[in-house]
Amino acid sequence: MPEKPITGEKRAFMTGNEVVAWACLAAQADIMYGYPITPQNEIMHYWTRLAPKYEKKFLQTEDEISAGFTTVGGVLAGARAFTGTGGPGNVLMQEAISMAEMMRIPTVMFIQQRGGPSTATVIYSQQEVTLTTYGGNGEGYRIVYSTASHQDLFDYTIKAFNAAWKYRFPTFILGDGYQAKMRESLMLYDPEARGITMVPAEPLVGLPGTPGVDRDPAHLRNTYNTEEELLALIKGYQAEYDRIAPELAEHEAYDCADAEVIILSHGVVSRSARIAGRELREKGMKVGYFRPITLRPFPDAAIRRAVAKAKKLLVVESSEGQFLKLCQQSLCGLPLPIETLLKPGMGITSEEIVAKLSAWRWG
């Protein structure tokens, strides 16, 4: 038996991509399938450095289409498998992800967002929100965690594997180039030492016994012959997704109870939003902060509660409104004006948010 990668708890100073590799080890992942693309490369680099020591596996595929499908295949065979990509790679993986949605295959994928469309810039953006939440031909039956810190990357990687294997929907960690490359400290831990049990991975095909006699057949399909069959299936998936959504939805909120203005943001931008909110509070402005952690399912009930007394909302994101659309969909029908600070492909500082809100007429 190889030694455990992490025993107990240990503080470390790392880049986000390294955190993902270590978190996958901690989560007892078996194999990564991948194809290089900036800004996720070091997930692969570190996984391949660590894999031999801990008897894990890695397969570099010929492209991201293959990386997506081999991940699906690995999971079908019972491996706790994952892949990582970003930008055009995320586009190419959509077919495999749609298949995973349809066949309820618990893949885990790490998306380090970069600029778009197409090759665009290689480092930072929040322009893969739509693609990651609803990118395939289907209804977006996915679980998407948008992380903001290295501790998030570690915690939610462990959670992602468990959510995927418990609920059997493809699950994503949505990071970005800044999170991938920036360095900060975090606490590494063995999930078991914190009382977190990993949901066991198991083969979905090739099961023992005679199908139809000893067990139900593992009849996994992504093709349906009639419209009626598909309708029934999707209605069933929707009902199940609606049922589990409240269990899965997560958010973070501060100072919303009496806030006149609430800043809505997600991912790394929420770090700036939180600092801005605090600064403005100290100046006596009634500002609140709300951050959906799950973008799918969106924390609808929580956001509606948070904005109940607000007079105005400010959506801040590094895209031209992809997160804004999720917010608008969730808040549909509420008579609340929404203002925006949208900077596709650019980072957003707390100073910019403070300046934007300070320029408003209050009260």
Binding site: A12, F13, M14, I37, T38, R49, Y178, K181, L188
Partner: protein, 223 residues
Amino acid sequence: MNRIVEAYVGEYASGKSECALNRALELLRRQEVMQPVILVDLDTVEPVYTLRPIREELRGLGLDVIAWATRDTVGLGEAGSGWPPAARWVLRRSGSCVLDIGYGVKGAQSLNLLEGAWSDPDLRILAVLNLGRPMTGSYECMLAYVRELGPVHGLINNSHLGDDTTIAFIQEGARTVAEVAEKLKLPLTATCADARFKERLGEKDVCGRPIRYLQRFMPRAFW
């Protein structure tokens, strides 16, 4: 006049650039050191944290800096990057040189591209080590890491946890790096520490080695 030529190598995110540029600024202030002091970005591995964004700031402080300007680069990240032509010949110039090298074995091997590196009598290759980095997170890991790096003349303890650094952690790093140094029969050249610890840490680390205090430039050098 002492001609100083130092190359900073080590693990990804070990603090090579911060240690290198602070050392270059220190040499600038020392009268016995041959001037000018040239700081050279030889990192072809990682396009994100480089001297590029702070090049003009460092020039303003008196350093001669050889590094790309972002507008002059092509293919960052995807296609790799090359050195500015002036970097290849820098050891032929008069003055002292501090070389900021890319990470890992591949980074260290880039010295093979530097004209005159292996015949330069003054070249000292220093491995920067941070106990907070998991790949060098213990005596055994650190020892194995330095052994695979190639030629190294000295070790630098740069153990820290970013904003969560403590004095105890810096000193634990010093002890660990000192053990590795002893095993490899290499000097522990110095400990590096954030300037905010200066009052409490003093002049020397727990192993009696000098402490070089760092002004943090690299947080502004992101991309």
